[in-house]
Symmetry: C2
Subunit: 116 residues, 2 copies
DNA sequence: CTGATTGTGTACTATGTAGTATACATGACA
DNA sequence: TGTCATGTATACTACATAGTACACAATCAG
């Protein structure tokens, strides 16, 4: 599923319960022109900026990291974490590239619970 | 140290041993105009594209991840690793944000040696 | 001392990013 | 049945990115 159609789906689902989730009203709340949001939802323009994606995620109650990923973007806070120690994290990520989800989750838990 | 001055330093060091590391000749080898490389080394322009940084890193035998980081960029291969599983890696990186270098290295080794 | 090489100043450009502004046709609904 | 909200088409824009092209003064090498 593309970025645009995912957004459209998410919005329409909410709209079924809450009429304030029309394209125009969402656009108004997140601070963009309706015409622009329309084009976004039909993939007629590239996905918007990180800031706009975040406002959209908040309004639609969606995971910002997921929405950003669908837009082909990595959250800027993750970028700056990597940029602090680029070689270390480069190694780590390349190691984990082909690991299973389960394996990564195990690492996450280990780090969270471990006594470093 | 800034991106530009780091490059200049690295190049001049090499040049002491190898006269083919003049600004002009490096520029020629990596495929940019000398005037542009000159501006890069004096931080008169923002750092070049990822592709150009990689060619520069190769020519100067420097670590591309480090050079990219100094340019404020995250390697596109790391990005695509994250984009495969954005939420998982987002959790992991945020967990490791304040971990010690030692702790991260331990994780790297664990993943490398562990039987997943 | 001269010819090549070096680094740099200045001007310009193409493409991408991230949108706005206005107008319009359609459908809901009171 | 008029008007109000909805989604969309079209045209335009400001700024950033990633450079090129050319000229010029200094310097090094034979």
């Amino acid at each position: 599923m593309t970025y645009g159609s995912y957004i459209r789906n998410a919005r329409e689902r909410r709209r079924a319960r809450d009429r304030t989730y029309s394209l125009r009203q969402v656009a108004l709340r997140i601070g963009v022109e309706p015409a622009y949001l329309s084009k976004i939802e039909r993939d007629q323009v590239p996905p918007p900026s990180e800031a706009t994606i975040r406002r959209l995620a908040r309004d639609l109650d969606e995971d910002p990291d997921l929405l950003l990923a669908m837009a082909g973007k990595v959250s800027s806070d993750l970028k700056s974490i990597i940029l602090q120690r680029p070689q270390l994290f480069a190694d780590l990520l390349r190691q984990l590239k082909d690991a299973s989800d389960h394996a990564i989750l195990t690492v996450v838990r280990e780090v969270r619970d471990g006594d470093w």
